[in-house]
Symmetry: C2
Subunit: 302 residues, 2 copies
């Protein structure tokens, strides 16, 4: 069963790992690049890297982001030399960023660099950035409009969010292979990522949204909420303010016409929604629970 999963960072990466364990090379993950940033002259793709590290088994399961066994000496040295070091980049992580930044500077597209990294890690699934173009998420708050990372890391996502805009989305085209993978898939999955700032930037690429809308197969979303609360991050506050609540119906309402079923946690059932709901245990604490959730999702998508 060929499956395409649209994914943000941490939660998406965990489901991607489960799907990879179930599907192997039949999995294609389309990753968010709206959070990408430039730091110390390096292009950093936090969501792509979270997925890559999870697929490669290099991720830190406890912390939820970055690599296991990470250390921070290079960044600490850069800070001591006066460098801009507000974003956490570990030594092992920086090795990847150096290789990617050098390739991008040589003129390689983000998608081909990503493919090379996936190959170097020995991962057999396909990982594609939504787009090779510059598409950047900006968050509109009462305190002003900020780049995603300025708001999320710099301001600790404390500002309430009134809206999200995607700079460059009108000009962005899908990375090579994204639309083809969606058209050829036997099922589509929306990972349990933030609908606004993780999957929103992917679906803001018109041709990707259209390919999903025109699907001939089922598309299953996994709710990122458990008991109406975000497992991690500010989604519950964002949904309450922008959608009016945090029920499964509010989550489903983020994906109008795009999703055929929503997998929710048992803590949120029973509930009413305009699409079928499937309740299961959605908390992914390790690879085994990721795989169990992935297999449920695949059954719903089949």
């Amino acid at each position: 069963m060929k499956v395409v999963c649209l994914s943000g960072g941490v939660g998406g990466a965990k489901l991607a790992r489960g799907l990879y364990d179930a599907l192997g090379s039949d999995l294609t993950v389309v990753g968010n690049v709206g959070d990408d940033l430039e730091l110390l002259g390096l292009h950093v793709s936090p969501d792509l890297d979270s997925v890559l590290y999870a697929l490669a088994g290099l991720n830190d399961e406890g912390r939820g982001w970055g690599r296991a066994g990470e250390s921070w000496r290079t960044l600490e040295s850069a800070r001591e030399w006066g460098g801009d070091a507000w974003f956490q980049l570990g030594d092992l992580d920086l090795g990847l960023h150096l290789v990617r930044a050098a390739a991008l500077r040589r003129g390689d597209a983000l998608s081909s660099v990503t493919a090379a990294l996936v190959g170097a890690a020995g991962v057999e699934a396909v990982l594609l950035p939504a787009t090779d173009d510059a598409l950047r998420t900006r968050v509109v708050t009462p305190a002003g409009t900020f780049s995603f990372q300025d708001w999320f890391v710099g301001r600790r996502h404390e500002d309430e969010v009134d809206g999200v805009v995607f700079d460059g989305a009108d000009r962005a085209t899908p990375a090579p292979g994204v639309v083809e993978a969606i058209r050829e898939a036997d099922g589509l999955v929306f990972a349990p990522s933030n609908p606004y700032v993780s999957l929103g930037p992917i679906l803001a690429v018109t041709a990707i949204r259209e390919a999903v809308a025109e699907r001939g197969v089922r598309c299953v979303a996994v709710s990122p909420l458990i008991g109406g609360r975000a497992v991690k991050g500010p989604l519950d506050r964002m949904l309450t303010r922008m959608a009016g609540g945090t029920t499964p119906a509010h989550v489903a309402g983020c994906y109008p016409e795009l999703v055929d079923a929503l997998v929710i946690d048992r803590a949120d059932a029973p509930a009413e929604a305009p699409i079928p709901l499937v309740a299961t245990a959605t908390l992914m604490e390790d690879r085994a629970s990721s795989r169990r959730l992935a297999e449920t999702v695949l059954e719903v998508a089949a």
Copy 2:
């Protein structure tokens, strides 16, 4: 006593440290940039950094290059991701390279980046690159002509050297402050660095060579040989092949008209040379011996 020291990497950095301990902010070091290279998208200035680390007390005295307490995780990670990792860059070292590369990419000159790094380290001496322009050493050997680092590191400086050329020297102008510092100095010092590939690139900048040639003060060179052998590196083989021998006269012959006295090791005395020779202990094993040698050099220069 205001002193300008022309310096390469390891041996020069040791003498620079001794001069700094003796002179404090009256020391200006003019560093070689002919060895500079681009690795993983980062501009690396090995000789400037050896001097900076020595002045800041951050250098690894045992290894002779790089920082004390260094580790290698970022480079090892870059290698695993397929990166070009043939040149040893430690985690602490990379922090500096990231900051410098980002500043150079913003358009800062190497000299202003270097000044910022010196300031960040709390060093009160002045450290100037010979030039902000691209001046690169190439080594002519029977096996072909190589960039300095390709020959020195990549080929382990095993090829005999027939000559050295300095790409860009004809267009290179001195970095701001270099000629002024030489003109205002009370004494000039040539560090015990390789005359061909360490001090040669500095003196290949016409205005620097002219400023030294037109000096009204004494210029003292320190021989990098002990008992006719290089303390480190291929200089003895280079001198034998290109100058015909490794006596003090052969070393002095590398700096015609530029040097008023040569400080040599006691192992090389007595000897004959066209300029006065001063014999002392020149091996610098620690900061104390660096300072002792520096004070002898300053007495000769005064």
